[in-house]
Symmetry: C2
């Protein structure tokens, strides 16, 4: 489209952070309020979250999990029961000290995550191996008292689901941890068209209280990484702290093995930064609140609007279709729905009606096709599928382009001095090397990928024998 | 069923409050935790809430509303902007005073309701008559610092939806207030089979900050009333306090007219107390997580379990079906799913398979029918429909039975001394009479029904000229 229609958003290359802020506000995803660090999720942003939520919720249910709801508050003494956990979360919780006029005897925090609440409940309801596994999930809001915040990426309050499960054996808990990471990867790749690297977090980066943490990591357009979902094997640490025991088949008393896993509104930030461009949002069809936006041309002419509304009704059978029948100019509308990342625009005017055709314009490629209305439903289904495929391929290609390899420390530093992206390099396993890399390059270990490549035999930092290949990156 | 299978729950007539507590815990709807006044909503309870939520959410969307999400916290200064509102809510909010280690400059409350957050946002986004109406809804948790709590009925934290809308005229806001009350009544009567009385709250009982409040009131099995949903016309009080103005078609600046309306997890308490009996829960089919529970008989015999699982697959086309294939005795299962209020039990054993039949047992009437499997799908659809209808009729008959009429104060006192239920009586409109009635009978004004009956010309309390007919009752 002509530049004259383009809303004033900063170009990505000029200032990526400002581009992001422009997009989330001007595409009507969020608004700010007087509540520092929190965001208002507006109808378009919330409809997007509802789609993601529905896709994930159905997968969580298909894998045998049940939804529950736990209290918002956690008494301080309960939070303190698991030592690593309280250490990790205490600095970033909000404390309630008064109820009405009365000061509380014990202060309560607003849940930053709900492990301890689930544990207290599990102790009540688990007694025998017959009670296992327990596969619970919760959709909720949580609060972490962040100093610096950005819409979706890091907010004081965010929405998420948190799964919490109990198993009879370490092996079963391990399988669950993998299974749910796979579910997250499936939603990222097949709904949001975001390619991910699956791997394990280092001990430094793992969840407070976990035995180990699995993660999916994605790469944004600016070459920074974003942790997109985590799945934790909690071992029996919480079970021992809370006394969650069961009688096994042989009559022996054992502690359960637990997992937890979470996926948040943050993923919307990832989607924006993976697919967006200088004209605004680009939403993959499977997540898009509106997949096809009908824009009537010369709508004041007799029959055009009626025809367009009829078309909407017909197409609603195969896609989420909307129509803008307002009296704004077509050019304004084109720009607005490009800004909002609607995958496909359908233009229809008097000449199209006469010729029994419509014009389809793809948001991802800008490609324009004239399609006969006889085959419209099939054609639209086909194009939406192709957009979904194309966005994934494009994101994958960009990730490959921005993925580097370093054999030694000078190479690693050179790459991070000049570029941003994933750097694959070997690691000896020592925390000190991890710290030094962070200090000298600003990059953190994103994960030890499941798919290990033997890049060299030496740690990229200290030169000692390497234990693991790691993806390093600057991250959100 | 034989008494030997019945779990130990208190009979309704012995102690209704204890019966209620027994049912919510033994039917696995909730569990308690160390968080005073809050509840854990267990899988069965949450699945019930999800069904209610889905039914209501689709109606909210069909009437043109959009879902959004507002922050959990409200800074004290923002809450204070509307005077009546803060007076109503300040005594019952939870205050956050610390974030991490740091003490806040201004304390934040945990939202008890979100009018002020919506108002702040509306001021940002509404400028012209073209921006109206704004029809927003939010699904969220809210907190009210209650001293005495009971699962579902009154909890420190509860789940709800809250609608918040802006309109150009008083008349449009009025229509919206009525429309959403009708939506609530529809969900109550046609999903939950709870008959309701629609009416207006007196000024004493209206929402803090509203011009007027409409309500639906239902009657529990013990004759106490329960407010089941409210819809408020807020007038322009909030709009003036927050400066929400728009330019009308003639170019004049006007304040918007607003509404808000809410429906909560409380309704689950109503459903329990309207339909439940001494054997436990009775859930209307449209709300039931499981509508048909298959209990295999002599399931150790070859082919029985396979047959039952096949049946489950077939019936899933017409109903939410589950199966209990565990090695517990059929009698235990019968009792368990009666306790849980599953509308229909399907028994199938070797003899039934031989005869190409199954046994259906209704939870509401206990009626047993032998049905040929050829017609099973139609038959089940038909019976579920009949259960839904029957529960509503039964509840309505009970309400009629417990609805009385009083002409004067001695009659009113006599009724409330001997009975519990709705009492229809006339009122002069004075707060002092309302207060006196409460003091001397324990009953409050539930509503001034839309459907006014002229019972007499005099106020039931003071004898002065009557203005309105009121439903009075002791209430939850």
């Amino acid at each position: 489209m002509g530049k004259e229609f383009v809303k004033d958003i900063t170009a990505m290359d000029v200032d990526f952070a400002q581009w992001y802020t422009d997009v989330v506000t001007k595409a009507d995803l969020i608004d700010y309020s007087s509540v520092r660090g929190s965001m208002i999720i507006r109808p378009y942003g919330y409809a997007l979250w509802e789609n993601i939520k529905n896709e994930l919720d159905s997968r969580i249910k298909e894998t045998g999990h049940e939804n529950v709801y736990m209290p918002l508050f956690i008494p301080e003494s309960l939070l303190q029961k698991e030592k690593d956990h309280i250490e990790g979360f205490a600095p970033e919780v909000a404390w309630v000290t008064h109820g009405g006029e009365e000061e509380l005897a014990e202060r309560w925090c607003v849940r930053p995550t709900s492990e301890v609440l689930f544990c207290e409940h599990y102790k009540n309801i688990i007694h025998s191996y017959r009670d296992l596994p327990k596969l619970y999930n919760q959709w909720a809001n949580v609060v972490r008292w962040e100093k610096t915040t950005r819409p979706f990426l890091r907010t004081l309050e965010f929405l998420w689901q948190e799964g919490h499960t109990c198993h009879a054996t370490d092996e079963e808990a391990h399988e669950e941890t993998v299974r749910m990471l796979d579910v997250y990867a499936d939603v990222c790749e097949n709904v949001l068209a975001i390619p991910v690297v699956k791997g394990q977090k280092t001990d430094k980066e793992k969840f407070a209280g976990a035995k180990y943490t699995y993660t999916i990591e994605s790469l944004m357009h600016d070459g920074k990484a974003l942790q997109s979902g985590t799945s934790h094997h909690l071992g029996d640490g919480f079970a021992k702290a809370f006394g969650i025991q069961f009688t096994d088949k042989d009559g022996a008393l054992q502690h359960v093995q637990q997992t937890s896993w979470g996926f948040t509104t943050r993923i919307i930030g990832a989607m924006i930064m993976v697919h967006g461009d200088d004209r605004g949002l680009v939403i993959p069809p499977k997540a898009a609140p509106t997949q096809v936006m009908i824009v009537p041309i010369a709508q004041h002419k007799e029959g055009v609007l009626d025809y367009a509304y009829e078309l909407k009704k017909t197409l609603a059978r195969v896609a989420r279709v909307d129509i803008d029948g307002s009296d704004k100019k077509p050019g304004w509308k084109f720009n607005e729905y490009e800004m909002k990342g609607v995958p496909l625009r359908l233009e229809v005017g008097p000449k199209d009606i006469e010729n029994n055709q419509v014009v389809l314009v793809r948001r991802d490629t800008g490609e324009k096709t004239i399609v006969l209305t006889d085959h419209l439903e099939e054609k639209i289904t086909e194009i939406l599928k192709d957009i979904q495929r194309h966005l994934f391929e494009k994101a994958k290609a960009l990730r490959e382009e921005k993925t580097y390899m370093a054999q030694n420390f000078s190479e690693l530093k050179e790459i991070f001095a000049e570029k941003t992206g994933f750097v694959k390099a070997m690691w000896c396993g020592d925390r000190s090397c991890e710290d030094q890399i962070k200090e000298e390059t600003g990059a953190t270990s994103r994960c030890m990928p499941f798919n290990q490549e033997a890049i060299s035999t030496e740690c990229v930092c200290c030169g000692k024998a390497a234990k693991k290949q790691v993806y390093w990156a600057k991250a959100y």
